[in-house]
């Protein structure tokens, strides 16, 4: 099962390596990990996309909670939430492909944020699945470079993760 774990952690040097180290030491999988400070600069918010059985997920949350720097942990995917990922993708845009690329970006509500004679950089936000389908929709030979932020997510409505 796919799970999105959100963590509030003290914004201390080394905090990230504690979390990453825990996952590798215990053989848990990390599909993506994002981290940045929150509105309170002493706290970072980390989002980890992982997969595992219910037992594994129970251990992951317990082990994360055990880390001294970790303030709070929730499994966002346990209840209503929204998730987004940002992708920047550089594509070849020459000849008839140039128009086609622009059309594809529009269909997926992407924005072209850098233009040269032969390339575009397209910015796209959405669920990971949407980014995947955008990539699948393009001619693979035209993709020059992709960079994705990994998933970040937030609970819906009154579901708030705060100290």
């Amino acid at each position: 099962m796919r799970h999105i774990i959100s963590i509030l952690i003290e914004n201390e040097s080394g905090a990230l390596s504690r979390v990453a180290g825990l996952f590798s030491a215990r053989g848990y999988n990390i599909e993506s990990l994002t981290v940045a400070p929150t509105e309170d600069a002493s706290l970072s918010r980390m989002t980890i996309l992982t997969r595992g059985s219910d037992e594994v997920l129970e251990q992951i949350t317990k082990q994360l909670n055990k880390l001294v720097d970790v303030v709070k942990v929730v499994d966002l995917s346990e209840a209503a939430h929204t998730e987004r990922e940002l992708m920047l993708i550089k594509v070849r845009a020459t000849g008839k492909d140039r128009e086609e690329m622009k059309r594809m970006a529009d269909i997926f509500r992407g924005r072209i944020i850098d233009v040269t004679e032969s390339t575009y950089v397209i910015e796209l936000t959405g669920s990971s699945a949407k980014l995947d389908s955008f990539i699948a929709a393009l001619d693979a030979g035209l993709i020059l470079e992709t960079v994705r932020t990994g998933v970040c997510g937030i609970g819906r409505g009154d579901r708030i993760l705060k100290v």
């Binding site: 080394g14 390596s17 030491a25 317990k62 082990q63 055990k66």
Partner: protein, 565 residues
């Protein structure tokens, strides 16, 4: 205003630290200078940093206080890693203060620089790098707080040399608050009630008690509770002494080398009451082979991640064992609903006991089990026994009947050869005047043998019981049983003459080769040589094996017994 180095020492004084086990070097010179100028905190100079950490660890194990070690940067730190990992595996509260190169040199591959925080991260409860002298005192306070609360464990504080030279106001906080660290202490009352109910309904109960009982100082409460319920009790290797071994309700240690009755009772129980224990692989073997469909498991542990990790738990109780047992006793003191009827279960257990699974074969040579039996007699069952790792460790655990907590000091989780002698040192500093025996093997003792020198310097009258089989016996046992007797590298050749070796350090050495000499030699060591370190080299039957045995990957009822071979 005082220097960072003086702050370190003042913090230790505030924490009422009596002994620091350590070894000096460049980056801790300021700290050693501050140490020199005072008398409250005494420094024990070891001969290898690994031993400093083991000694601090055993100081804690045998006293409940936090052990403290002090080492220099680079190799000083890397030498501590085995000791830190050993303490971490057994949840021992310890603070390790490490020197570091000056702040401006960090990251430049400076002389004796290593990434202390990175290297120790996976084997500490927490670690800190101090970046500002103003944070030093509060960091050390936090280190002691974290080490000794919740599930205890080692904490490393990495202190750059420049920080120890800078000055600032000293203000030691009385308490620390950390929003990210608030271990649960009290158990959930609803869960506790449920547990008490289930205990009273039990037909085939077992109390399975581990190191958590000892760490939370709950041995007495556990004993009261068990006697009230009349339930059988088994202890893990780490829990020996949590319930008195000479009590009729004690069915022995369980696990890979547990007794026939303990392992069967654990397997066939309808209610398993796990107290400060964690169902690890050396205890229940393969979880898929473990136990009954209809069994109910109650588990008290301070660490939620230990609950339902390997065995599904029906009634989890997160909390300090001591506090939870307190609540349970209160409930049991009130109007008890029913008195559990365990008479039939005891009949079954007595039948298993009749198997006498610790009986061992006779031999013309000294049998190691016999040495431990005599050690028990000679010391009146009241010694602190430290051990190394191997067959000798299991013999000590099986045949020395520990009636009190904190008397059995060994590396259960990591299984670190070499701990025995430094452990005995730590025990003696925490319990001056106590009888301390170090049960070891000729393999293990050589891993920290240099500490014989420390023992001389501080006149530590340890009795070393070297069960010398001329082999890495535990390795040989597995090779005999599972590798068709291909004894790959399990011989120890070119052994030193241990008697002469001990004598060269200024200690007493004895070599004992005949069974009839075992008891007189032990008596002599513990009376005539009461105040000496005595190295007793027992030449034992090299073929002696540890039984019962549950092979790795098997279930608790699939025991190999001595006579099965």
């Amino acid at each position: 205003m005082i220097s960072g180095a003086e702050i370190v020492i003042r913090c230790l004084q505030e924490e009422k630290v009596e002994y620091v086990f350590g070894y000096p070097g460049g980056s801790v010179l300021h700290i050693y200078d501050a140490l020199f100028k005072q008398e409250e905190v005494k420094h024990i100079l070891v001969r290898h940093e690994q031993a400093a950490v083991h000694a601090a660890d055993a100081y804690s194990r045998s006293s409940q206080k936090v052990g403290v070690a002090l080492v220099t940067s680079g190799p000083g730190v890397t030498n501590t890693v085995t000791g830190i990992a050993t303490a971490y595996s057994d949840s021992i509260p310890m603070v390790v203060l490490c020197g570091q190169v000056p702040t401006a040199y960090i990251g430049q591959d400076a002389f004796q620089e290593c990434d202390t925080v990175g290297i120790t991260r996976p084997c500490v409860k927490h670690n800190f790098l101090v970046k500002d002298v103003k944070d030093l005192a509060v960091t050390i306070k936090k280190a002691f707080h974290i080490a000794s609360t919740g599930r205890p464990g080692p904490v490393v504080v990495d202190i750059p040399k420049d920080i120890t030279a800078q000055v600032c106001e000293f203000d030691y906080p009385k308490t620390v608050q950390m929003r990210s660290y608030n271990p649960v202490v009290k158990g959930h009352l609803g869960q506790i009630k449920k547990a008490v109910q289930i205990l009273q309904e039990a037909k085939r109960p077992i109390i399975y008690a581990g190191g958590g009982v000892i760490l939370s100082e709950a041995a007495e409460k556990l004993t009261v509770l068990a006697r009230k319920l009349k339930f059988p009790v088994t202890n893990t290797l780490m829990g020996l002494g949590a319930y008195p071994a000479t009590d009729p309700q004690f069915v022995g240690m369980l696990g890979m080398h547990g007794t026939f009755e303990a392992n069967n009772a654990m397997h066939y129980a309808d209610v398993v009451f796990a107290v400060g224990a964690r169902f690890d692989d050396r205890v229940i073997g393969n979880p898929e082979h473990y136990g009954q469909e209809k069994r109910r498991v109650i588990h008290i542990d301070i660490d939620p991640s230990s609950i339902s990790k390997r065995v599904k738990v029906d009634v989890p109780i997160v909390g300090n064992v001591n506090e939870v047992l307190d609540e349970m006793l209160k409930l049991l003191d009130g109007d008890v609903v029913t008195d559990p009827d365990v008479a039939d279960w005891w009949k079954q257990i007595d039948q298993w006991r009749g198997r006498d699974s610790l009986a061992y074969r006779q031999s013309a040579h000294i049998m190691p089990q016999y040495v431990i039996e005599k050690l028990y007699e000679v010391t009146g069952g009241d010694a602190f026994v430290t051990s190394d790792v191997g067959q000798h460790q299991m013999f000590a655990a099986q045949y020395y009947k520990f009636d009190k907590p904190r008397r059995w000091i060994n590396s259960g989780g990591l299984g670190t050869m070499g701990v025995g002698l430094p452990y005995a040192m730590g025990v003696l500093f925490a319990n001056p005047g106590a009888q301390v025996a170090c049960v070891t093997g000729e393999g293990s003792i050589q891993m920290c043998i240099q500490e014989l020198s420390t023992c001389k310097q501080f006149e530590l009258p340890i009795k070393i019981i070297n069960l010398n089989n001329g082999m890495l016996g535990m390795v040989r046992q597995w090779q005999e049983m599972f590798y068709s007797k291909r004894y790959s590298q399990s011989y120890v050749t070119s052994l030193p003459d241990f008697v002469k070796l001990a004598e060269s350090y200024g200690h007493v050495g004895m070599r004992i080769e005949k069974p009839e000499d075992v008891e007189p030699a032990l008596r002599k060591a513990f009376t005539e040589h009461k105040n000496d370190l005595v190295f007793m080299d027992f030449i034992i039957d090299p073929g002696a094996n540890v039984f019962p045995m549950v092979a790795a990957g098997k279930g608790l009822t699939e025991m190999i017994l001595a006579e099965d071979l």
